[in-house]
Symmetry: C2
Subunit: 199 residues, 2 copies
Protein backbone atom coordinates (compact mmCIF):
# COMPACT_ATOMS: atom_id res chain seq x y z
CA UNK A 1 0.00 0.00 0.00
CA UNK A 2 1.56 3.21 -1.11
CA UNK A 3 1.93 6.26 1.04
CA UNK A 4 -0.74 7.85 -1.05
CA UNK A 5 -3.21 5.10 -0.34
CA UNK A 6 -2.42 4.98 3.33
CA UNK A 7 -2.88 8.68 3.64
CA UNK A 8 -6.12 8.52 1.79
CA UNK A 9 -7.39 5.74 4.02
CA UNK A 10 -6.42 7.70 7.09
CA UNK A 11 -8.23 10.79 5.89
CA UNK A 12 -11.27 8.72 5.06
CA UNK A 13 -11.34 7.24 8.53
CA UNK A 14 -10.81 10.68 10.04
CA UNK A 15 -13.90 11.88 8.20
CA UNK A 16 -15.96 8.96 9.47
CA UNK A 17 -14.77 9.51 13.02
CA UNK A 18 -15.36 13.22 12.89
CA UNK A 19 -18.82 12.74 11.44
CA UNK A 20 -19.75 10.07 13.96
CA UNK A 21 -18.68 12.32 16.75
CA UNK A 22 -20.47 15.39 15.43
CA UNK A 23 -23.65 13.51 14.55
CA UNK A 24 -23.78 12.13 18.05
CA UNK A 25 -23.10 15.40 19.72
CA UNK A 26 -25.09 17.82 17.60
CA UNK A 27 -27.41 15.68 15.51
CA UNK A 28 -27.33 14.74 11.86
CA UNK A 29 -29.19 17.66 10.35
CA UNK A 30 -27.41 20.14 12.54
CA UNK A 31 -24.02 18.95 11.35
CA UNK A 32 -22.89 20.44 8.07
CA UNK A 33 -20.42 18.94 5.70
CA UNK A 34 -18.27 21.99 6.28
CA UNK A 35 -18.22 21.12 9.98
CA UNK A 36 -17.14 17.57 9.28
CA UNK A 37 -14.46 18.59 6.83
CA UNK A 38 -13.12 21.17 9.25
CA UNK A 39 -13.02 18.60 12.07
CA UNK A 40 -11.07 16.23 9.83
CA UNK A 41 -8.88 19.12 8.74
CA UNK A 42 -9.51 19.01 5.04
CA UNK A 43 -11.15 21.50 2.72
CA UNK A 44 -14.89 21.37 2.26
CA UNK A 45 -14.48 20.73 -1.42
CA UNK A 46 -12.23 17.77 -0.77
CA UNK A 47 -14.91 16.04 1.26
CA UNK A 48 -16.67 15.16 -1.95
CA UNK A 49 -13.70 13.29 -3.28
CA UNK A 50 -14.17 10.88 -0.37
CA UNK A 51 -17.94 10.67 -0.07
CA UNK A 52 -20.54 11.61 -2.61
CA UNK A 53 -22.96 12.88 -0.01
CA UNK A 54 -23.55 13.22 3.68
CA UNK A 55 -25.61 10.03 3.76
CA UNK A 56 -22.75 7.95 2.43
CA UNK A 57 -20.85 8.69 5.58
CA UNK A 58 -23.32 6.55 7.48
CA UNK A 59 -22.66 3.54 5.27
CA UNK A 60 -18.94 3.75 4.69
CA UNK A 61 -18.42 0.05 4.22
CA UNK A 62 -21.60 -0.71 2.32
CA UNK A 63 -19.87 -1.87 -0.80
CA UNK A 64 -17.45 -4.17 0.96
CA UNK A 65 -20.25 -5.66 3.00
CA UNK A 66 -22.32 -6.40 -0.04
CA UNK A 67 -19.28 -7.85 -1.71
CA UNK A 68 -18.76 -10.11 1.28
CA UNK A 69 -22.32 -11.34 0.96
CA UNK A 70 -21.86 -12.02 -2.71
CA UNK A 71 -18.65 -13.91 -2.03
CA UNK A 72 -20.36 -15.93 0.64
CA UNK A 73 -22.89 -17.05 -1.94
CA UNK A 74 -20.14 -18.80 -3.83
CA UNK A 75 -19.45 -21.66 -1.49
CA UNK A 76 -22.48 -23.82 -1.41
CA UNK A 77 -23.20 -27.38 -0.48
CA UNK A 78 -24.18 -29.82 -3.24
CA UNK A 79 -27.77 -30.13 -2.08
CA UNK A 80 -28.32 -26.46 -1.28
CA UNK A 81 -31.51 -24.99 -2.59
CA UNK A 82 -31.60 -21.26 -3.35
CA UNK A 83 -33.41 -20.59 -0.11
CA UNK A 84 -30.71 -22.37 1.86
CA UNK A 85 -28.13 -20.04 0.46
CA UNK A 86 -30.23 -17.03 1.32
CA UNK A 87 -30.73 -18.25 4.85
CA UNK A 88 -27.08 -18.84 5.39
CA UNK A 89 -26.02 -15.57 3.88
CA UNK A 90 -28.71 -13.18 5.06
CA UNK A 91 -30.13 -14.70 8.20
CA UNK A 92 -28.24 -12.51 10.60
CA UNK A 93 -30.17 -9.51 9.43
CA UNK A 94 -27.65 -8.52 6.87
CA UNK A 95 -25.90 -6.94 9.79
CA UNK A 96 -22.56 -8.55 9.42
CA UNK A 97 -20.54 -7.05 12.21
CA UNK A 98 -17.81 -6.18 9.81
CA UNK A 99 -16.66 -3.21 11.70
CA UNK A 100 -15.86 -4.14 15.25
CA UNK A 101 -19.17 -2.64 16.42
CA UNK A 102 -17.62 0.75 16.60
CA UNK A 103 -19.56 3.79 17.62
CA UNK A 104 -21.00 3.98 14.14
CA UNK A 105 -23.24 0.92 14.25
CA UNK A 106 -25.57 2.00 17.06
CA UNK A 107 -25.57 5.52 15.67
CA UNK A 108 -26.63 4.18 12.31
CA UNK A 109 -29.54 2.40 13.92
CA UNK A 110 -30.70 5.60 15.46
CA UNK A 111 -30.31 7.61 12.30
CA UNK A 112 -32.19 4.98 10.33
CA UNK A 113 -35.22 5.61 12.47
CA UNK A 114 -34.98 9.35 12.67
CA UNK A 115 -33.49 10.74 9.48
CA UNK A 116 -35.53 10.12 6.33
CA UNK A 117 -32.62 10.73 4.00
CA UNK A 118 -30.58 8.06 5.75
CA UNK A 119 -33.45 5.60 5.71
CA UNK A 120 -34.01 6.21 2.03
CA UNK A 121 -30.38 5.63 1.27
CA UNK A 122 -30.30 2.44 3.32
CA UNK A 123 -33.26 1.05 1.45
CA UNK A 124 -31.60 1.86 -1.83
CA UNK A 125 -28.40 0.11 -0.82
CA UNK A 126 -30.30 -2.96 0.27
CA UNK A 127 -32.40 -2.95 -2.84
CA UNK A 128 -29.36 -2.84 -5.07
CA UNK A 129 -27.78 -5.60 -3.06
CA UNK A 130 -30.87 -7.70 -3.61
CA UNK A 131 -30.54 -7.22 -7.31
CA UNK A 132 -26.97 -8.46 -7.30
CA UNK A 133 -27.71 -11.37 -5.00
CA UNK A 134 -30.59 -12.46 -7.19
CA UNK A 135 -28.36 -12.27 -10.22
CA UNK A 136 -25.86 -14.62 -8.69
CA UNK A 137 -28.60 -16.91 -7.51
CA UNK A 138 -30.13 -17.16 -10.94
CA UNK A 139 -26.71 -17.92 -12.35
CA UNK A 140 -26.06 -20.56 -9.74
CA UNK A 141 -29.27 -22.44 -10.44
CA UNK A 142 -29.76 -22.31 -14.18
CA UNK A 143 -32.87 -24.02 -15.39
CA UNK A 144 -34.28 -24.13 -11.91
CA UNK A 145 -34.45 -20.43 -11.23
CA UNK A 146 -35.13 -17.75 -13.83
CA UNK A 147 -34.11 -14.22 -13.06
CA UNK A 148 -37.57 -12.94 -12.22
CA UNK A 149 -38.19 -15.74 -9.75
CA UNK A 150 -34.74 -15.28 -8.27
CA UNK A 151 -35.54 -11.67 -7.74
CA UNK A 152 -38.86 -12.47 -6.15
CA UNK A 153 -37.29 -15.00 -3.83
CA UNK A 154 -34.50 -12.70 -2.78
CA UNK A 155 -36.95 -9.89 -2.29
CA UNK A 156 -39.19 -12.05 -0.17
CA UNK A 157 -36.43 -13.17 2.09
CA UNK A 158 -34.82 -9.78 2.40
CA UNK A 159 -38.22 -8.21 2.95
CA UNK A 160 -38.99 -10.60 5.76
CA UNK A 161 -35.67 -9.92 7.43
CA UNK A 162 -36.01 -6.18 6.98
CA UNK A 163 -39.57 -6.17 8.23
CA UNK A 164 -38.86 -8.22 11.31
CA UNK A 165 -35.75 -6.23 12.13
CA UNK A 166 -37.59 -2.98 11.79
CA UNK A 167 -40.44 -4.19 13.95
CA UNK A 168 -37.95 -5.18 16.61
CA UNK A 169 -36.43 -1.75 16.53
CA UNK A 170 -39.84 -0.17 16.83
CA UNK A 171 -40.59 -2.31 19.83
CA UNK A 172 -39.62 -0.43 22.93
CA UNK A 173 -38.01 -1.91 26.00
CA UNK A 174 -34.48 -2.79 26.89
CA UNK A 175 -33.81 -5.90 24.93
CA UNK A 176 -30.33 -7.15 24.38
CA UNK A 177 -29.02 -7.51 20.87
CA UNK A 178 -29.15 -11.23 21.48
CA UNK A 179 -32.84 -11.19 22.33
CA UNK A 180 -33.63 -9.06 19.32
CA UNK A 181 -31.79 -11.34 16.97
CA UNK A 182 -33.54 -14.32 18.46
CA UNK A 183 -37.01 -12.81 18.14
CA UNK A 184 -36.30 -11.69 14.61
CA UNK A 185 -35.14 -15.12 13.62
CA UNK A 186 -38.19 -16.66 15.20
CA UNK A 187 -40.56 -14.37 13.31
CA UNK A 188 -38.87 -15.20 10.04
CA UNK A 189 -39.09 -18.91 10.65
CA UNK A 190 -42.72 -18.54 11.60
CA UNK A 191 -43.35 -16.57 8.43
CA UNK A 192 -41.31 -18.46 5.90
CA UNK A 193 -41.26 -21.83 7.60
CA UNK A 194 -42.95 -23.71 4.77
CA UNK A 195 -40.34 -22.39 2.36
CA UNK A 196 -37.50 -23.52 4.54
CA UNK A 197 -38.46 -27.07 5.33
CA UNK A 198 -37.31 -29.71 2.93
CA UNK A 199 -39.88 -31.72 1.00
Amino acid sequence: MSLRDRKRARTRQALIDAATDLFERNGYDETTIADIAAAAEIGTRTFFSYFASKEELVFPDAESRVQALLDALANRAPDDRPIDLLVRVLSDGGEVSDDIIGKLTPLRMRLLQTVPAVQGRALQIQFNAERRIAGILAEAFPGELDDVTARALTGAFAGAVRGASQAMLDRPGDLTAEQRTQATRQAIVKTLGPLLSRD
Copy 2:
Protein backbone atom coordinates in the same frame (compact mmCIF):
# COMPACT_ATOMS: atom_id res chain seq x y z
CA MET B 1 -66.05 21.90 -1.89
CA SER B 2 -65.31 25.53 -1.44
CA LEU B 3 -63.88 27.76 -4.11
CA ARG B 4 -60.69 27.81 -2.14
CA ASP B 5 -60.40 24.04 -2.22
CA ARG B 6 -61.25 23.80 -5.88
CA LYS B 7 -58.71 26.42 -6.74
CA ARG B 8 -56.12 24.66 -4.66
CA ALA B 9 -56.85 21.35 -6.35
CA ARG B 10 -56.57 22.99 -9.73
CA THR B 11 -53.22 24.54 -8.91
CA ARG B 12 -52.01 21.23 -7.57
CA GLN B 13 -52.98 19.48 -10.76
CA ALA B 14 -51.42 22.24 -12.81
CA LEU B 15 -48.16 21.63 -10.99
CA ILE B 16 -48.32 17.91 -11.66
CA ASP B 17 -49.09 18.49 -15.32
CA ALA B 18 -46.39 21.07 -15.73
CA ALA B 19 -43.85 18.85 -14.00
CA THR B 20 -44.82 15.79 -16.03
CA ASP B 21 -44.44 17.77 -19.19
CA LEU B 22 -41.12 19.31 -18.25
CA PHE B 23 -39.68 16.08 -16.91
CA GLU B 24 -40.56 14.37 -20.14
CA ARG B 25 -39.21 17.07 -22.31
CA ASN B 26 -36.07 18.11 -20.47
CA GLY B 27 -35.41 15.38 -17.94
CA TYR B 28 -35.87 15.26 -14.20
CA ASP B 29 -32.57 16.68 -13.04
CA GLU B 30 -32.59 19.36 -15.67
CA THR B 31 -35.96 20.64 -14.53
CA THR B 32 -35.81 23.01 -11.59
CA ILE B 33 -38.59 23.69 -9.16
CA ALA B 34 -38.51 27.27 -10.33
CA ASP B 35 -39.21 26.03 -13.86
CA ILE B 36 -42.18 24.00 -12.71
CA ALA B 37 -43.59 26.80 -10.62
CA ALA B 38 -43.22 29.22 -13.49
CA ALA B 39 -44.95 26.84 -15.88
CA ALA B 40 -47.84 26.49 -13.45
CA GLU B 41 -47.79 30.23 -12.94
CA ILE B 42 -47.19 30.36 -9.24
CA GLY B 43 -44.30 31.67 -7.19
CA THR B 44 -41.40 29.39 -6.46
CA ARG B 45 -41.99 29.76 -2.74
CA THR B 46 -45.59 28.72 -3.12
CA PHE B 47 -44.57 25.43 -4.69
CA PHE B 48 -43.55 24.18 -1.29
CA SER B 49 -47.01 24.68 0.11
CA TYR B 50 -48.18 22.07 -2.39
CA PHE B 51 -45.31 19.59 -2.40
CA ALA B 52 -42.57 19.17 0.13
CA SER B 53 -39.99 18.32 -2.49
CA LYS B 54 -39.46 17.63 -6.14
CA GLU B 55 -39.73 13.89 -5.60
CA GLU B 56 -43.20 14.18 -4.13
CA LEU B 57 -44.40 15.39 -7.49
CA VAL B 58 -43.79 11.94 -8.87
CA PHE B 59 -46.03 10.32 -6.27
CA PRO B 60 -48.87 12.78 -5.96
CA ASP B 61 -51.47 10.27 -4.90
CA ALA B 62 -49.28 8.09 -2.73
CA GLU B 63 -51.19 8.72 0.45
CA SER B 64 -54.61 8.06 -1.06
CA ARG B 65 -53.35 4.88 -2.69
CA VAL B 66 -51.98 3.56 0.54
CA GLN B 67 -55.18 4.52 2.28
CA ALA B 68 -57.12 2.56 -0.34
CA LEU B 69 -54.98 -0.48 0.37
CA LEU B 70 -55.56 -0.14 4.09
CA ASP B 71 -59.28 0.18 3.54
CA ALA B 72 -59.26 -2.87 1.33
CA LEU B 73 -57.77 -4.82 4.19
CA ALA B 74 -60.91 -4.25 6.19
CA ASN B 75 -63.29 -6.49 4.30
CA ARG B 76 -62.12 -10.00 4.75
CA ALA B 77 -63.76 -13.37 4.46
CA PRO B 78 -64.28 -15.41 7.62
CA ASP B 79 -61.66 -17.98 6.73
CA ASP B 80 -59.07 -15.57 5.37
CA ARG B 81 -55.58 -16.10 6.61
CA PRO B 82 -53.24 -13.11 6.76
CA ILE B 83 -51.56 -14.20 3.56
CA ASP B 84 -54.89 -14.32 1.76
CA LEU B 85 -55.49 -10.70 2.61
CA LEU B 86 -52.06 -9.74 1.40
CA VAL B 87 -52.56 -11.57 -1.85
CA ARG B 88 -55.87 -9.92 -2.51
CA VAL B 89 -54.69 -6.48 -1.61
CA LEU B 90 -51.17 -6.40 -2.99
CA SER B 91 -51.10 -8.96 -5.75
CA ASP B 92 -51.43 -6.49 -8.58
CA GLY B 93 -48.05 -5.10 -7.79
CA GLY B 94 -49.38 -2.37 -5.62
CA GLU B 95 -49.97 -0.60 -8.86
CA VAL B 96 -53.60 0.19 -8.47
CA SER B 97 -54.38 2.15 -11.56
CA ASP B 98 -55.93 4.85 -9.48
CA ASP B 99 -55.16 7.56 -11.89
CA ILE B 100 -56.51 6.73 -15.28
CA ILE B 101 -53.03 5.76 -16.51
CA GLY B 102 -52.27 9.34 -17.30
CA LYS B 103 -48.95 10.38 -18.68
CA LEU B 104 -47.52 10.23 -15.19
CA THR B 105 -47.56 6.48 -14.67
CA PRO B 106 -45.20 5.49 -17.47
CA LEU B 107 -43.02 8.47 -16.67
CA ARG B 108 -42.81 7.34 -13.07
CA MET B 109 -41.65 3.93 -14.21
CA ARG B 110 -38.88 5.49 -16.18
CA LEU B 111 -37.83 7.81 -13.38
CA LEU B 112 -37.80 4.94 -10.92
CA GLN B 113 -35.12 3.28 -12.96
CA THR B 114 -33.07 6.33 -13.77
CA VAL B 115 -33.27 8.83 -10.92
CA PRO B 116 -31.85 7.63 -7.60
CA ALA B 117 -33.71 10.22 -5.56
CA VAL B 118 -37.01 9.06 -7.00
CA GLN B 119 -36.20 5.44 -6.40
CA GLY B 120 -35.21 6.15 -2.83
CA ARG B 121 -38.41 8.00 -2.18
CA ALA B 122 -40.48 5.21 -3.72
CA LEU B 123 -38.86 2.65 -1.48
CA GLN B 124 -39.52 4.80 1.53
CA ILE B 125 -43.18 5.17 0.63
CA GLN B 126 -43.55 1.44 0.14
CA PHE B 127 -41.69 0.72 3.34
CA ASN B 128 -43.95 2.99 5.34
CA ALA B 129 -46.97 1.44 3.72
CA GLU B 130 -45.71 -1.97 4.77
CA ARG B 131 -45.51 -0.79 8.33
CA ARG B 132 -49.10 0.35 8.33
CA ILE B 133 -50.37 -2.75 6.57
CA ALA B 134 -48.58 -4.96 9.06
CA GLY B 135 -50.10 -2.97 11.89
CA ILE B 136 -53.60 -3.58 10.61
CA LEU B 137 -52.83 -7.21 9.98
CA ALA B 138 -51.56 -7.75 13.50
CA GLU B 139 -54.67 -6.08 14.82
CA ALA B 140 -56.92 -8.21 12.65
CA PHE B 141 -55.42 -11.48 13.81
CA PRO B 142 -54.77 -11.06 17.51
CA GLY B 143 -53.22 -14.07 19.15
CA GLU B 144 -52.36 -15.55 15.81
CA LEU B 145 -50.04 -12.85 14.56
CA ASP B 146 -47.75 -10.74 16.71
CA ASP B 147 -46.49 -7.47 15.32
CA VAL B 148 -43.02 -8.69 14.48
CA THR B 149 -44.32 -11.65 12.54
CA ALA B 150 -46.89 -9.48 10.82
CA ARG B 151 -44.12 -7.20 9.74
CA ALA B 152 -42.02 -10.08 8.49
CA LEU B 153 -44.92 -11.52 6.54
CA THR B 154 -45.84 -8.21 4.97
CA GLY B 155 -42.21 -7.53 4.18
CA ALA B 156 -41.81 -10.91 2.57
CA PHE B 157 -44.83 -10.52 0.36
CA ALA B 158 -44.12 -6.95 -0.58
CA GLY B 159 -40.50 -7.84 -1.18
CA ALA B 160 -41.45 -10.62 -3.53
CA VAL B 161 -43.79 -8.39 -5.47
CA ARG B 162 -41.28 -5.58 -5.61
CA GLY B 163 -38.49 -7.90 -6.65
CA ALA B 164 -40.45 -9.59 -9.39
CA SER B 165 -41.80 -6.30 -10.70
CA GLN B 166 -38.37 -4.78 -10.79
CA ALA B 167 -36.93 -7.78 -12.58
CA MET B 168 -39.67 -7.53 -15.17
CA LEU B 169 -38.81 -3.90 -15.72
CA ASP B 170 -35.15 -4.75 -16.09
CA ARG B 171 -36.01 -7.36 -18.64
CA PRO B 172 -35.84 -5.82 -22.07
CA GLY B 173 -38.17 -6.53 -24.92
CA ASP B 174 -41.56 -5.29 -25.86
CA LEU B 175 -43.85 -7.00 -23.46
CA THR B 176 -47.37 -5.82 -22.92
CA ALA B 177 -48.43 -4.74 -19.47
CA GLU B 178 -50.56 -7.83 -19.45
CA GLN B 179 -47.64 -10.14 -20.09
CA ARG B 180 -45.57 -8.45 -17.43
CA THR B 181 -48.28 -8.76 -14.85
CA GLN B 182 -48.72 -12.38 -15.73
CA ALA B 183 -45.05 -13.21 -15.47
CA THR B 184 -44.75 -11.32 -12.22
CA ARG B 185 -47.67 -13.17 -10.73
CA GLN B 186 -46.22 -16.45 -11.87
CA ALA B 187 -42.86 -15.77 -10.26
CA ILE B 188 -44.54 -14.88 -7.00
CA VAL B 189 -46.59 -18.02 -6.98
CA LYS B 190 -43.53 -20.05 -7.76
CA THR B 191 -41.67 -18.37 -4.94
CA LEU B 192 -44.29 -18.21 -2.24
CA GLY B 193 -46.43 -21.11 -3.36
CA PRO B 194 -46.04 -23.13 -0.17
CA LEU B 195 -47.21 -20.15 1.84
CA LEU B 196 -50.28 -19.70 -0.30
CA SER B 197 -51.67 -23.19 -0.45
CA ARG B 198 -54.02 -24.21 2.28
CA ASP B 199 -52.89 -27.01 4.60
